[in-house]
Symmetry: C2
């Protein structure tokens, strides 16, 4: 029987933090990753646009034979997940629920912080997901639009990064949170610097780890004769994808193929 | 006779710095502005993609009756201008040549710095344009990917911005430049902070001012009975466009209409 791959899509290269965790836990599975590098970032885009792009991305993965769709992108998960679930027959999982569950499990005081892109924060998706599960939670959130370019610059330990972390995260300390959800796939790249600023008392929820744990429950990896293969597709700029991939995975990746987008427009 | 508008396009909201200068110099002209906010940023995208998007943007402006196309986006100007010029009958002007001319005029030592997005810098467009005009010029360039999100955060005078400016621009001081081209439409938003760091000795070339001066030469504004009207189109997220427009223009703008993009894809 033909082996069907796990499909992962993200708005760009950040989702490789999710790929990395899934690859660790599923050494025997084939994986297809699609990074929509031509249309990144999704964060500042409207819900309609994010839904439209997510639908196209998922459809592409299905045409490549994916048996399950992992939405690595937080903005897509926040905005488009229900829509994708209704639209397709294969299981579709996003990062919001696993991240929420992990945060609730870790938090002792119920004071939980969430950081993400403008789109994720504006959607209130994490906040609503937490509120549904525990009434007494106090949730604080903030968009951190500089974290993605800082991670992509590779300024992992630079004073600018430290100061930006202070500026964005100081208010969370004042609110006395005990758990912080890193609600963007790029943020695990800055995890050491964020941990250094927040100290050991505040627990960090890495949604890449949370979603791979969830996937493990619904899809146990079966040992086979051969290790799983990985295939990477991007919609643009393989070179930059490769550069940041090395930052995340510590090794170059191949093969990368480009999926070209054709477009037309109309006035609403 | 029907009044035909000046058409301006940019990858997003930054081109409003160009709009602002053109509006100042052409109070009697109608202006149509298109910001491709659904597909911003162009900086990290491949030349093919930037050309394709630029073509669509220009075609849209022409369908709205534009008599001249102003390419406010540096990445588009660097990558797609020649293509657009060959493709359309109306005049098409970009920011690279006016910026280059202004820099050459201002520089006494011929040591010129250029900052811009990754795409603009990688294209070497400014460097080649300067080299074509003066053999003896020494040109240094660097991409500053954090400047756009800093400008959009409105952190115009924040320590993070000062430190980032130092990190990116210190090497230009070491190279002893006497002129710096702000090769991205967002950068004039940070001009006061950049000037503070560089001091008065280093002249700044604002490509928005340079292109509006150039336009003034080829299209003298004729006084008419009524002041010119402005119309704004975006491809997504009017709200964010409005927010940053206020930062640049110091007043809200209207009307803004959304041009919706329809898409399909194929594998290369």
């Amino acid at each position: 029987m033909e082996k069907k791959p796990i499909g992962i899509f993200d708005s760009g290269v950040g989702g490789l933090t999710v790929y990395r965790e899934i690859r660790k836990k599923f050494p025997y599975e084939d994986i297809i990753y699609f990074g929509d590098t031509a249309r990144v970032p999704y964060g500042p885009k409207s819900p309609q646009t994010v839904i439209q792009y997510s639908l196209q991305n998922a459809r592409f993965l299905l045409q490549q034979g994916a048996k399950i769709i992992v939405v690595a992108c937080n903005t897509s998960s926040a905005v488009a997940l229900e829509f994708l679930k209704r639209h397709f027959l294969v299981p579709v999982i996003g990062v919001i629920e696993p991240g929420t569950n992990a945060a609730i499990e870790k938090s002792l005081t119920g004071k939980i912080g969430i950081i993400g892109t403008e789109g994720t924060i504006r959607s209130n998706a994490y906040m609503e997901a937490i509120a549904e599960k525990i009434d007494s939670a106090e949730v604080f959130s903030s968009a951190c639009p500089l974290f993605v370019p800082l991670a992509e610059e590779g300024w992992l330990d630079h004073p600018v990064t430290k100061m930006t972390i202070r500026k964005y995260l100081q208010p969370f300390i004042s609110k006395n949170i005990d758990t912080l959800i890193l609600g963007c796939t790029h943020y695990p790249i800055l995890k050491p610097a964020i941990r250094k600023f927040l100290g050991k008392e505040i627990k960090l929820v890495d949604s890449a780890i949370a979603i791979s744990n969830e996937l493990k429950e619904i899809l146990p990896d079966k040992e086979t004769e051969s290790l799983g293969k990985s295939q990477f597709f991007v919609s643009d700029n393989e070179e930059k994808f490769q550069k940041i991939a090395s930052l995340i995975l510590k090794h170059p990746i191949e093969p990368i193929k480009t999926v070209k987008l054709g477009e037309s427009w109309y006035i609403e």
